[in-house]
Symmetry: C2
Subunit: 100 residues, 2 copies
């Protein structure tokens, strides 16, 4: 079992109103120095069995036909090693909330 | 300038109706061997200047207060090297559509 992550983002040339809304709000919230914000979707797929080339090709086919609208979106597919929690060093939840 | 990616996913214990809807549709579309699907959000932030510890701490603070609802969501923050296109080997668009 391994986790395969499919990230789906709008193509660079496509207007991203959600990202723009976030970006416009940043100065009001006191966050400077962020020149652009893009928002997309992240899918985490738990794939049974070995994630070999054939399995990855199936996930790409799934992403292309179902998870992304390839007219306006690009997608990337990558394998995340352990099908466990994301890298604890980089993650954060309110309870922990430690600021590195 | 560097790209910092913030991934926001529902906490594991929180029901993910969107992910379940995708998972239930997979057999009908002919995709077997995927035991779970979770859907979340991906934010790409173009950060001006060096992405040092202070800049990353600011992005974590932004993620915690604005991009994620930390009552039900976890988030991870990571720096993507070049603020360019994602890894071409792993990405796919309809035009290219090459199946590895």
């Amino acid at each position: 079992m391994a986790r395969v992550v499919v990230d789906v983002m709008l193509k660079p040339e496509i207007l991203d109103p959600q990202g723009q809304a976030v970006q416009r709000a940043l100065p009001r919230l006191g966050f400077e120095g962020i020149s652009d914000v893009r928002q997309g979707k992240r899918f985490e797929l738990e794939v049974e069995g070995p994630v070999d080339r054939a399995a990855l090709a199936r996930v790409r086919e799934l992403a292309e036909t179902f998870l992304a609208n390839t007219v306006i979106e690009d997608f990337t597919v990558r394998v995340e090693e352990a099908a466990g929690a994301p890298d604890p060093a980089a993650s954060g939840t309110a309870a922990e909330g430690a600021v590195a």
